[in-house]
Every structure is written in C-alpha cells, then in structure tokens.
C-alpha cells in the first residue's frame, strides 16, 4: 500500500486513542498534507427540526475567506450546502456547482479563488446520529480529488470529525450541565426505551409532567428532538 494511504489508515485506526484535540489535529494535518489539503473545517449545517444554522466547529481556515463568506450570507445560496442534504458521498465544489449552476454559486467559486487562493475543495457530508447534518470541507490549490484518493479522504474526515467533536466537547464538566436532576432522570429512562407513561409510573409523576420535563430538557440543550437530547447528554456523561 502507498505510504500516504497507509498513514491515513493508521490515523483512522489510532484516532480514538487521542486524548487531546491538538494532537489529533496535528496528526490529521500531517496525514492530509500529501493529498494537497491546505485548509480543513468541520462544520455543522443544520439539525432536524431547525432552520439552517451553519456553524464552524474546528479546523484550519482562511479567516479572510470565512469572514467574507459569513458577511455575504452565502450559506443559503451555496450549492455545496444544498448538496449536503442530498448525498452521503463526498463531492467537489465543481460537482456541486455543476448540479446547481447558479450565479451565486459561480460567484462563490470565483471569490474563494481570489481571496483564499484555492479553487479545489472536497465536501464530505457528515450525518450524525442525532440527525444533524454537517460536513468536513477540505481544500487546497492542488487538492487531489481523484477516484482513488477520495475514499481515503472520506475515511480521514469521518474520524477527524467524530473524534474531534468528542474531544472538543469533553471539557464540559458536570456543573456545566444545563439539565435539572428530574430532566436527566427522564432522559435516562427515554434512553432505556421507556414511554412517557412508563416513566411516569416509575417516577410516580404524571405522564404530562414527564413530557414537560423532556421538553424543558430539549430547550435547555437547544435541540429539536428527544433523540438529540439523549445523545448529547449521554456523550457528556450526564445520564449515568
């Protein structure tokens, strides 16, 4: 196997052993460089039941370009964002534009080349368990998007995003938990597959009250579904 491919596979195999985000990011940067990756970003585009709300999570970006993209309000008209919701396979900026050849799309492509000096980008869709849609965007002037390399970048992106998010979100301590004990309790039973009625029986409260606790928990976590509430709380260790 090519050395750059072997390094990529090793990154994916070892990623979960990473204990700090900086080390993970440094390694990711190193293994993606041979493929022409200059910039990389983990983004979230939308959660189910919520409006499009693009957020940058982490990565190395060209800040002039990022500032410009946000000020110009490009997300709702970016063909790449639309395509995120249509496919699970990675696609290039050119492919997204070819699918929706709008004037805005053309402008975005021209401007990213002018401002950031890159005209090749690969968007790796990330559909997380709680239904969130996001992406890892890799770009560079000489980015390799050949058919052999794409699956490798796909694998790298998926691990960088998954492990990276856990490491970045870990530092939240128990005192940062926005849920009340009752809300946590209810969500713990939801995770066990119990219905609101069953939870009411277990906790000796009404089904209606259980529902209220769960809705309040969702609001406290700023999520749209109880699945997301359970996952987010579980990842942070609040449901033990």
């Amino acid at each position: 196997m090519r050395k750059d491919f072997q390094d990529a596979l090793n990154f994916a195999r070892e990623a979960e052993n990473a204990t700090d985000f900086q080390a993970l990011e440094a390694r990711f940067s190193e293994v993606t460089r041979p493929f022409g990756v200059e910039y990389y970003a983990a983004d979230v585009a939308a959660a189910p039941g919520q409006a499009l709300r693009p957020r940058f999570l982490f990565g190395r970006v060209n800040s002039d370009w990022t500032r410009h993209y946000l000020r110009a309000g490009y997300a709702p008209v970016d063909p790449c964002v639309a395509m995120l919701f249509e496919t699970l396979k990675p696609f290039t900026w050119q492919e997204a534009y070819a699918r929706r050849p709008t004037a805005a799309g053309r402008r975005i492509l021209d401007e990213v080349r002018e401002i950031a000096g890159v005209d090749k980008g690969l968007v790796v869709p990330i559909h997380d368990r709680d239904g969130e849609t996001g992406a890892v965007v890799l770009s560079g002037a000489d980015l390799d998007v050949s058919p052999e390399v794409r699956p490798v970048l796909h694998l790298l992106a998926v691990y960088f995003n998954g492990v990276g998010r856990d490491l970045v979100e870990l530092p939240m301590r128990d005192d940062d938990c926005p849920l009340t004990d009752r809300q946590r309790e209810c969500l713990r039973w939801v995770m066990d597959g119990k219905s609101d009625w069953e939870i009411g029986e277990i906790l000796s409260i009404s089904e209606h009250t259980v529902h209220k606790h769960i809705e309040a928990g969702k609001r406290a976590l700023d999520v749209g579904t109880r699945t997301q509430a359970v996952i987010q709380s579980w990842r942070r260790g609040w449901l033990v």
Partner: protein, 261 residues
C-alpha cells in the same frame, strides 16, 4: 435478553426466524436498496445463512424482531473474504477464530432513542457470544458514512482497510475488539453489567415459550431484589393453581435466598 439462535435450538424459533428474514428483506432490500440480494416469499437469505450461522435477536414483547445481527465463523469463507477481499488490508479476513458480523439492523420502531436499550443489549450480547467461542477477531463492514454512528455502539471499532466504492455507497471493513477486556469495557460504557445473551437449550421441546424463558432468566440473573420479590409472588400464585404435578417450592426457596442476599 438477546436470543442466540443456532442450528441446535432453531426448532424453538420457527416463526421468529421467518420474521427475521422478512425484516431483513424489508430493511436491506426495501430500505437500503441492496437489490442484488435474493428475496423469496418476502424473506431475504444468502449462502451464509447455513448451519454455522448464529443469529442474535432482540424481540419485542409482541414477538416482533426489534434488532438483530448475524455472526458466523469464517474459516470456510465469509462475505468479506469471498466477495470484498480488497477491503481488508490489516490482518486476515478469514480463518480459525475469526468471526464475521453481517445483516445488522433495527426495526423501524426501534430507530433513534427508543432503540438504545435493545441495541445496547445486542452489542453486549454480540461480544458475549464471540468471547465464549474464543474468537480472536470480529470483522464487519459498513458504509463509510455510517462509521460515525458505529462509535456510539459501545464497541471498540477500527477500520481494517481503506474504503472502496460500491454501487450504493462507499464500503469500509472494520474490526470490533472482542477480547474479554473489550467485553468489560463495552459493559461499562453501556452500563449493562449483567448477562444479555440467552441461549435456549436444544433439549427444549418445540413450542416452548422461549421468550418467557428468556425473561425469567433475566429476572433471576439480573433483577435487583425488588424485582425478584415480585417474581416470587407470581411464582407462588402459579403454585396455588398448579396441581398435582409441579413443585415450585425449590424455585421459591432459591429465589428467596437471593432476595435475602
């Protein structure tokens, strides 16, 4: 409890096995679009559904399949070694002690939060099954896009090769840590200290209520004292109406010991 269906005890699971194959057709062919799979009478089966296949199934109270996975030793062949050998670059894809996991699915009703409990039980049960059989390696494959989700299984998952495109997506093979220490780690992550796998004895006659047997076993093995107390009350009630055969005194006595403990 998760039921382990083998060649030896499959006579106890006639309708359930058919239900599982129908659920597989629905999920993999209907849902995932794997049209190359063979479906007959609404049931999906392939060459690896033979006497060496092990089926782990979580059932609803109604008897419907909630979640399931197929395990099979690979020394005589496997999907990965026979059909997708290019997906495995690290280590062997078949051999003694190497098990393959395929046809993992959950019913529509059990996607999302309400499926956590049964899927978690299935994840622990899978490791219980392979550890008991002395497996040295457990392999599976999935779409790269789903790899993010595998990280929530409580398993220790690592890719064993680079992904490759197939018709409907991009496949990647992975291994699940299956040493006893991995089982312990998965129990801790999923907070399931008790045994999850139930293997109905082959000597049971056809028609035995295996679902009830599994639930009773779960109570005896895993229920806290309060649960066992309730179970004892039920057993006493049965004894009052079950004459002249049957002697449940011994069972009551044993359960009483555990309650006291």
């Amino acid at each position: 409890m998760i039921h382990l269906i083998t060649a030896e005890n499959r006579h106890l699971y006639g309708p359930q096995i058919e239900a599982m194959h129908r659920a597989r057709a629905e999920y993999f062919v209907g849902g995932r679009g794997w049209t190359a799979l063979r479906v007959e009478n609404g049931q999906e089966r392939d060459a690896y559904d033979d006497d060496r296949a092990l089926y782990l199934v979580g059932f609803e109270t109604s008897g419907e399949v909630a979640a399931s996975v197929r395990l099979r030793p690979s020394d005589d062949g496997s999907v990965l070694s026979d059909i997708f050998p290019h997906l495995v670059a690290e280590g062997e894809s078949r051999g003694p002690g190497i098990y393959e996991m395929t046809r993992y699915f959950g019913s529509r009703a059990r996607r999302g939060a309400s499926g956590f409990a049964v899927r978690s039980a299935l994840h622990v049960a899978t490791l219980e099954a392979v550890v008991e059989r002395g497996a040295g390696r457990l392999l599976g494959f999935t779409d790269v896009a789903a790899l993010t989700l595998l990280r929530y299984t409580g398993w220790r998952v690592r890719p064993v090769g680079l992904p490759a495109d197939y018709e409907e997506g991009t496949a990647v093979a992975f291994e699940v840590g299956c040493a006893p220490a991995d089982l312990a780690e998965t129990r801790a992550r999923l907070q399931l200290a008790g045994r999850q796998l139930f293997e109905a004895p082959a000597w049971l006659p056809e028609g035995s209520d295996v679902l009830a047997l599994a639930d009773a076993t779960n109570v005896i093995l895993n229920a806290p004292a309060t649960g066992r107390r309730k179970a004892m009350t039920t057993v006493r009630e049965v004894e009052a109406s079950w004459q002249p055969q049957g002697d449940l005194q011994a069972l009551i006595a044993r359960m009483g010991e555990r309650v006291a403990a």
